[in-house]
Amino acid sequence: MDAMNEIIQIKNLGKTFKDFWHRPVVVAVKDLNLTIQRGEVVGLLGPNGSGKSTTLKMLLGLLRPTSGAIELFDGRGPEDVAVKSRLGYLPEVSHLHEFLTPRETLMYYASLFGLPHAAAKRRTNELLEMVGLVPAADRAVGRFSKGMARRVGLAQALINAPELLILDEPTSGLDPIGCREVKDLVRLLAKSGVTVLMTSHLLADVEDVCDRVAIMNKGVLCANGATRELLRNPEIVRFSIAGLSTETAADVRMQIEKQVDRPVHQDFPEMSLEAYFLKVVAPEANGQAFKMAHFLEK
C-alpha cells in the first residue's frame, strides 16, 4: 500500500468511557486498526452500540482516544486545524441551529472556513440548489422535517469541498428519493476523488455505494475488506442472459445439468424495491443526480 495515499490511519485505537470518579464504565472501542486510502468509499457497519459513532467522533477530534493513535492526511492529529479544513462531517442527527435558515446556516459554516463573503454566497447557492432546498432557503431550519434538515446537514458537510467526507448514517430520516440522491452523490464524490467514510444501519445502502466495508461489533473490528470480495460466494456461478425464450432457457439448463451433474436453479432477476419505487414515483430523480454531477463538475 502507498503510504502517501493513506488518508486515515487508525492504530490500536481504544476508547473507554468513565464515570465522574474516573472508573471505567463502557469499553466502546477496543484495539481498532484501520487504514483508508485516498478516493475509497468505506462503510463502517455494526449493530447499535458497536462503537461506529464513537470511532467517527474520535476521528473528528470530538472525543479523545483512551489508547492508540489516529493520523489523518500525512500523519496529522484530528485536532489539527489544517486537517479540519480538509474534511466534511454529517452527524447522525444534524444538530443545526434551529433559528437559522438554510442559507444563513451555510453562510455561517462557510465563514468558519474563512471563505470570503462572495465565495461563500456563491457556494451556498450552489449547494442549496444541489440539495433541492432553494424554495425553502429562507425558512427557519427548526420548522423543517427530518429529511429536509438532513439535506441542510449534507450541504454544510460539503461547504468546503472536502477531501474526506465523514457521514454518520447519511440516509437516516430520508425518503427513498432522498436516499437515492445521497447515494448518487456519494458515488459522484468518490468519482471526483473524495474519500468517504460512512456508517449506516441500512446494509443495502452500504452495499450500493461502498468499495470496502469494515464491520464492528462490541467495539472490535470483526471484518474488513472490499465489498464485492466479502459478499462473493465463489461456490455459486450465475449467468445472466437477456431476451432468452422459455424453450432455449430449458435447453441451456439441461445442457448445464448434464455437464455438472447437479441441479441448476433458474429464476428471473428482480429489481430492488427501491429501484421499483423510484421508477414509479420519481422517474425525474435522475434530474437531481444530474444537478449533483453538474455541481461536482463546477
Binding site: L63, V81, P91, E104, Y108
Partner: protein, 462 residues
C-alpha cells in the same frame, strides 16, 4: 522575497481568522436577537427606564428626581443587564455542548480562541447597544424634565474635576501608626502585621476630624488642571453634627490660592441644616491674573460653644474643591463605557464557566460568585480582628477577601455617584477600569476557558 511572501501568508491567515470570528459573532447575535428571552429582557429594560422614575417616590425636589433617574433607573437597568449577561454567557458554550450544536462547529477549522472571542464580542456588541439605549433614554428624560419649572435652576448638569486634601494615603498613615505602636510596644497580640495594617488603613480611610466651636482646620489642595481667572471654583464640605443643635452651627471658610500676591476669600456659613455645604467662588475674587493650581482652605467653627456641638468631617472623603472639567454628556458617556466594561468582564467570566460546566451548574456558580462579590466587599469592611480569630468564620472571610480583591477594579468606581455629584470621571481611573475590565481580567478568563475547551470532549458516546 521570502519574507514578503511569508508576510502575505500571515496576512491572509489573519483575514481568514477575522472572518471566522465575525461569523461566530454574527451567529451569536442572531441567536440572541431571535430568542424570546432577549425580547423579554428588552421589554423589562424599557419598563425599567420608563416606569421606574414614575413609581419611585423622591423627596419632591428636582435634585431628588434627577437622583432617581440616574441612580435608580440606570442602576436597576444595569443590575438586570449584569444578571442577563452572566446567564447568557453561561449558556453560550454550555447550551451548545448540551444540545450538541457545537459538534458541527467544532469539526470546522476554528480554534478555541476564535470561538471564545467571537462569542465574547457578540455579548459586547449586544450589551453596548442595550447600555446605549438605557443611557440615551435616561438622558432624554433629564433633558425633557429640564424644560419643567425649577429643574434648570436646581439641577446643574455639570462635570467637574475634584481635588481632595493633600494628605498621606491611608496606607502611609497606617504604616506610620504601626511604627509608632511598635516603638511603644503597644501592638495588639495575636495578629499579623498585614492584619494590623489593614485595620489601621481602614480606620484611616474613615477617620473623622472633629472641629469644636472656636477651632479651625486647614487643608491644602492641588488642582488637576490650573484654573483661569474667569472660571469658578466650587467648595464642597460634607459633615456630621448633632441633629438638635445643627441650626446653631456657624462657620467661616477661608479660601486662598497658592499664587503669590493673591488675596484670600472668606465665606461665612450659617446654613448647616443639610449635611452638605456647597458654595461657588469666582476666581476674579482672588485678585490675580495668574492661573491657580492650588488652594488653601481653612474652616473655622464660629458657633457658640455653649449652644452648639462639634462638626465632624471625614476629611479624606468629605472635603473637596471642584473645578470645571468636561461636559455632563461626556461624563455620562464615560459612565456608560465603564458599565459596559463591567458587563464585558461578566461576559468573560460567564463564558469561561460555560466552557467548564453544564448550563445549570454554570448559572448557579456564576450567580453565587456575583452575590459574593456584592457581599464580599461589605464583609471585608465590617470584619473585626476578633472575627478573624474565629476558625469557623475564617474560611468565609478569606473567600470574601479573595473575591473582593479580584473584583476590586471592577467595583471600585461608582460612575453613577460621580454623575450625581457632578464629578468628572477622571481619565486615569477610567482607563484603569477599562484596562482591567476589558483586557486584563477577561484575558485571564479567556486563557482558562480556551484551555478547558481544548481539553474537553465536545461529544458524548452513543
Amino acid at each position: 522575497m521570502a519574507r514578503h511572501s511569508r508576510w502575505r501568508i500571515f496576512l491572509k491567515s489573519d483575514v481568514k481568522t477575522i472572518r471566522k470570528i465575525f461569523g461566530i459573532l454574527v451567529i451569536s447575535l442572531r441567536a440572541a436577537l431571535r430568542a424570546k428571552t432577549v425580547f423579554a429582557l428588552l421589554m423589562l429594560m424599557a419598563a425599567c427606564v420608563t416606569l421606574l422614575p414614575a413609581v419611585i417616590k423622591g423627596d419632591g425636589t428636582p435634585e431628588g428626581d434627577c437622583r432617581i433617574l440616574v441612580m435608580y433607573t440606570i442602576g436597576f437597568a444595569f443590575a438586570i443587564l449584569c444578571l442577563a449577561t452572566l446567564w447568557a454567557a453561561c449558556a453560550l458554550f454550555a447550551a451548545e455542548i448540551d444540545n450538541q450544536n457545537i459538534q458541527l462547529s467544532a469539526v470546522k477549522p476554528v480554534r478555541a480562541f476564535d470561538f471564545w472571542l467571537g462569542k465574547w464580542l457578540a455579548l459586547l456588541v449586544l450589551n453596548g447597544m442595550l447600555i446605549m439605549a438605557v443611557y440615551s433614554a435616561v438622558y432624554a428624560q433629564i433633558r425633557w424634565k429640564q424644560r419643567q419649572a425649577g429643574w434648570r435652576e436646581s439641577v446643574q448638569l455639570v462635570s467637574r474635576h475634584i481635588a481632595r486634601p493633600i494628605l498621606p494615603t491611608p496606607r502611609e498613615e497606617a504604616l506610620e501608626t504601626y511604627s509608632f505602636l511598635e516603638k511603644q510596644k503597644a501592638l495588639p497580640d495575636g495578629f499579623s502585621k498585614a492584619q494590623v495594617l489593614r485595620t489601621l488603613a481602614d480606620k484611616a480611610r474613615e477617620r473623622y476630624t472633629i472641629v469644636n466651636p472656636g477651632d479651625s482646620v486647614e487643608w491644602r489642595f492641588a488642582l488637576a488642571r490650573p484654573v483661569a481667572t474667569n472660571e469658578i471654583v466650587t467648595v464642597r464640605i460634607r459633615f456630621d453634627t448633632e441633629y438638635s443643635t445643627r441650626t446653631q452651627v456657624a462657620g467661616l471658610c477661608r479660601l486662598a490660592p497658592d499664587v503669590p500676591g493673591a488675596q484670600a476669600v472668606e465665606i461665612p456659613l450659617s446654613d448647616f441644616s443639610l449635611n452638605e455645604i456647597v458654595f461657588d467662588v469666582s476666581c476674579e475674587a482672588f485678585g490675580t491674573t495668574k492661573s491657580i493650581s492650588g488652594f488653601n482652605l481653612v474652616f473655622t467653627h464660629t458657633g457658640d460653644p455653649a449652644k452648639t456641638s462639634a462638626v465632624m468631617l471625614r476629611f479624606r472623603k468629605d472635603v473637596a474643591v471642584l473645578t470645571q472639567g468636561g461636559t455632563f454628556e461626556a461624563n455620562l458617556v464615560r459612565s456608560a463605557i465603564i458599565h459596559w466594561s463591567i458587563l464585558a468582564l461578566l461576559a468573560a467570566f460567564g463564558l469561561t464557566l460555560s466552557a467548564c460546566f453544564s448550563l445549570p451548574v454554570a448559572v448557579f456558580i456564576s450567580t453565587l460568585l456575583l452575590l459574593l462579590v456584592m457581599v464580599g466587599t461589605s464583609v471585608t469592611e465590617v470584619v473585626s480582628q476578633e472575627d478573624e480569630k474565629e476558625w469557623l468564620q475564617r474560611p468565609g472571610i478569606i473567600v470574601s477577601r479573595m473575591v473582593s480583591t479580584v473584583a476590586q477594579h471592577a467595583i471600585r468606581m461608582d460612575p453613577l455617584d460621580a454623575i450625581i455629584n457632578g464629578e468628572r470621571i477622571e481619565t486615569a481611573p477610567f482607563m484603569d477600569a477599562l484596562l482591567w475590565n476589558l483586557l486584563v481580567v477577561p484575558s485571564g478568563f479567556a486563557l482558562c476557558g480556551i484551555l478547558i475547551l481544548r481539553r474537553r470532549e465536545l461529544a458524548s458516546g452513543d
